[in-house]
Symmetry: C2
Subunit: 579 residues, 2 copies
């Protein structure tokens, strides 16, 4: 997947090779400059640093979004004065002071879309006053600015010098999915997340905007959906809010990919249009029903009724509004977890089924009436894998041409990724076994009689369907192209960690996402292995400690991964006897 | 354990019986007033409410700490204007306005110690302008003030009326343990936690101040321990800080119980006194060592050397200073996880062992030289259960007279509680299987080779020794006197949830503790069963949603337990088919 590979001579001096641990366990000095994600190629033959001028400047070509980013990074670089957990031991070059960073872009017109070139080359001389950042596009330059900012620390500011970085991502799609339906997040929360994503060189915010619980998106053509279906007037995203979020994304090199989940997960639509939603607001798992006959995967229930023409009148308005509000060329149309029990509970659908119709035919009708319309809006449609891989309700592949369709996988780990790409579809990997950030944290379902039984409730995976909790190590070490041929691997666009919000809201947003999304960010950007092909989680631990610390000082409440003692005593918290 | 039982006629009108759900799923109205923890007895025959005067006043006898609490609650009650998730449907009494709350105390001199009477009787008339709060002690009055504050909502402020509450705790020891050694917390974080504890009627902050990772407590007689052993001058607790925390605790009815863990978990002491610490700063699990021979339960290593007289010179200073700084009559002396491998690594101890000495004898020497000194300071000594129950290193019971000794249990659930109380000792329950708040959230140990193996790392309990994650339901439903005789049960003083800070610090403090500590708080205060003896977790879910929401609005970043949709649609997120 190294489509952006940079050619040229490169000295492979891995940062970790510059570690110098001075004997005594109480005196540890390191010449590591911690970068996250780790760049592809770094040349830093000597552990040198140079003072950064308090009048440091960045010059760059004029570009609507890059100029904002340059301004932001200039402010950050001049004011951050980052205090590392372990102060790097470097040799300060005498007399020399870095005065400026000169940014050069080859193609200023490249838009922020999937596959855009994000490569950059950064050079900080050990003598001389000018550092240089060269990139193919403005978006690559933003990645390089982030790297530069992470090379600066201390007060007065030091910057690593005598260094060159050649860098570009392995995977082009590196995302975070956030569900804003089950619980609501303010615009400020979302912006803070996008900002942190940019720091991690992540480039796609997959916004799972709507679901059965609430419909927070205020659509100009269908205002009733949010008016009635949101949690309240103070828990909606107005068109102005969306514009602000999209703009903020562009300023940070982060695409905003909207998802309007359908036909399942649409109970909230029934507040405005009860007639187009099957099983709306019915109890999700009626007494006596088998598990597989429940009306929804979880409370609450509700699925659009594909047999009602009114459904499509509403949908065309929704789709048109969403494509107008979100310039992003990918459009996520959901398609996950169509519950047979819900459609079977609808009289109209019952009649259709009684005449030898099938649930899959109903889903095909739905896709036939929506997919072409989305494509006509110049969009590539992303669906959850279920539309093709569900055991019970799925459509014929012929309905979904691979050139316009991408499938996002979440079940069965590497197996479903294989199933998707071996069928010729592009895949986005968000395996629940590895990339779901909500797992292992309990269940939101009430009244579970297991708690009646003695002191039960302390077994298994913490009462979470997708437990255990996905540690940063689990996320970091997942190989998303595991078991694929080289050709198949090319169809894997990248990965997304996902935060479903049954038990998340702004109080825990930062700590649920960070630094675990950072773990995926590095795996997607430069991989999880060293130059010998060995997993590099051990080396990554100290770097992640530092990066997490820097994120916290930048206002992101990322959770700690170790006692501070471990960060200050590298290696002392390792396991060497584990088998 | 109902030592404070109030006699008198009581009308058992459970709040949940007042729920009125009006048919349509979109229109849910409830006359529930949500209190947490649920009081023992509430009489509220009609769902009445009365306006609260904007000039509402609280009159109370003069008391150093209660007066501060009254002032705080008055401000809260007048300004909170709580907006419930589900607006209670009540009948507003016409014309009547509550103007004041009259607080009466029977014994103003009772100090805040274990076993102090915390009962109160609250009466809010449906007509008339005066509410009354009667309590045996100032501390009981603080509990009643909290209850009153939770009965007020809206703008203008409403208060439930025509209500009487008789209330007192089941267990006298209801605590939260926080480890401030592995990662540091600021004084403000600790105060915020104590404030939230008070809101939950919790009454003991067990402060695990020191451990192997850092020694943050600045002791006047031994300043070197913190000067050298803390994480830095900005990560210490000065005597002034401690005074502020203790004072704040008194103003909130929360005892501050200090723990100086010893002889294990003392690696940080070696920065100041390397000669008194065995295996200090040695790698915790040297290559080739068996698991049971490792030098510490986890990184880092270090245990006080009981054979060195200097150890006791330092310890007497430490103990004397701590008893002077903390007025609390309980003193926690640690005693957990003495690692045989550490002492065996010390030459002096090796020599002792080679002369037929045993590790248990060494621990007995240590306790013989410290326990009587602590007792001489008029303290009851709390130890972790290990001192008596450890398989390898434990002391003879005769050394620890039950009248001066309390054991805190953390291993093996109900079995160790039974072992402690059946031996005649009082027990504090903080079973790791139920009450450890850090569990199930991954491991901090680095370089675990399991991650080399394919896509491993996603099995079991999330790489956590005490996984899975303890859900609020697991905590709520644990019966800490399970399997005990009535006489044995009397020796169970109560429970503590514990946050060990390997992977916690201020960024996640609130969400790791709340609302899960609330679950224990109610179980300890009024139990986890309804009047029929059935577990009441189902009824508790909606109340906990509301209480969590109120905590968030009071500035505590408690994590959500459900989608807002569930709270607004009571019962719709239940499981009825679970077996």
């Amino acid at each position: 997947m190294d489509k952006n590979q940079i050619h040229g001579t490169a000295i492979f001096t891995l940062l970790s090779m510059a570690v110098m641990i001075f004997s005594s366990a109480t005196l540890v000095q390191c010449a590591v400059i911690n970068l996250w994600p780790k760049p592809r190629i770094v040349s830093w033959p000597l552990p040198l640093a140079t003072l950064l001028s308090p009048k440091f400047k960045i010059t760059s070509p004029n570009h609507r979004y890059l100029s904002t980013a340059v301004y932001r990074y200039l402010h950050l670089i001049l004011t951050e004065h980052h205090h590392p957990l372990v102060i790097p031991t470097v040799n300060l070059t005498n007399g020399s002071v870095v005065q400026s960073l000169i940014v050069t872009i080859h193609d200023l017109s490249a838009p922020l879309v999937h596959g855009v070139n994000e490569s950059y080359h950064l050079k900080i001389p050990s003598t001389g006053v000018e550092a240089s950042l060269t990139a193919e596009t403005a978006w690559g330059a933003m990645r390089g600015l982030e790297t530069f900012s992470q090379l600066v620390w201390g007060n007065p500011s030091h910057v690593a010098s005598g260094m060159e970085v050649w860098d570009w991502p392995i995977f082009e799609h590196r995302g975070v999915m956030l569900d804003t339906s089950r619980n609501f997040y303010n615009v400020e929360d979302i912006l803070r997340m996008i900002g942190a994503m940019s720091g991690n060189k992540l480039n796609v915010f997959h916004w799972h905007i709507t679901d059965s619980h609430s419909f927070p998106l205020l659509l100009p053509s269908e205002p009733g959906l949010a008016d009635k279906g949101s949690y309240g007037p103070d828990m909606q995203y107005s068109p102005k809010d969306v514009t602000r979020i999209v703009q903020f994304g562009l300023e940070h090199g982060v695409r905003v990919l909207p998802e309007i989940d359908m036909p399942g997960h649409t109970g909230s639509w029934a507040k405005a249009y009860p007639e187009i939603v099957a099983c709306a607001n019915m109890f999700w798992w009626p007494a006596g029903y088998k598990w597989e006959d429940r009306l929804a995967s979880e409370p609450g229930a509700g699925q659009l009724n594909p047999l009602n023409p009114k459904t499509y009148q509403v949908l065309k308005n929704v789709i048109r509004d969403v494509t107008m509000m979100f310039p992003e060329p990918f459009y996520h149309a959901g398609g996950d977890e169509v519950a047979p029990g819900c459609w079977k509970a609808d009289p109209e659908i019952q009649e259709f089924l009684s005449k030898d119709g099938s649930l899959s035919e109903i889903l095909e009708m739905f896709l036939n009436s929506t997919f072409p319309y989305i494509v006509s809006m110049n969009r590539t449609v992303v669906y959850w894998e279920d539309v093709l891989l569900d055991q019970t309700v799925r459509v014929n592949r012929s309905l979904l041409p691979p050139e316009s369709t991408i499938l996002q996988t979440w079940n069965d780990g590497p197996n479903n990724t294989k199933a998707i790409v071996s069928s010729g579809y592009r895949a986005i990997v968000s395996s629940a076994d590895y990339y779901y950030l909500d797992c292992g944290h309990g269940s939101f379902i009430g009244n579970n009689s297991k708690y009646d039984q003695g002191n039960a409730g302390n077994t298994g995976t913490g009462d979470s369907w997708c437990g255990p909790f996905k540690t940063w190590q689990t996320i970091y070490n997942y190989d998303i192209t595991y078991g694929l041929t080289e050709e198949e691997a090319k169809l894997v666009l990248g990965g997304e960690v996902a935060l479903w919000s049954e038990q998340a809201d702004p109080t825990v947003l930062d700590s649920r996402i960070w630094p675990r999304a950072s773990a995926m960010a590095e795996a997607m950007w430069s991989g999880n292995r060293d130059e010998k092909g060995m997993k590099r989680y051990a080396e990554a631990t100290d770097r992640l400690n530092e990066w997490r610390g820097r994120m916290v000082s930048r206002g992101i409440r990322a959770e700690p991964i170790q006692p501070l003692w471990c960060a200050r005593n590298p290696g002392m918290c390792d396991t060497v006897n584990s088998s």
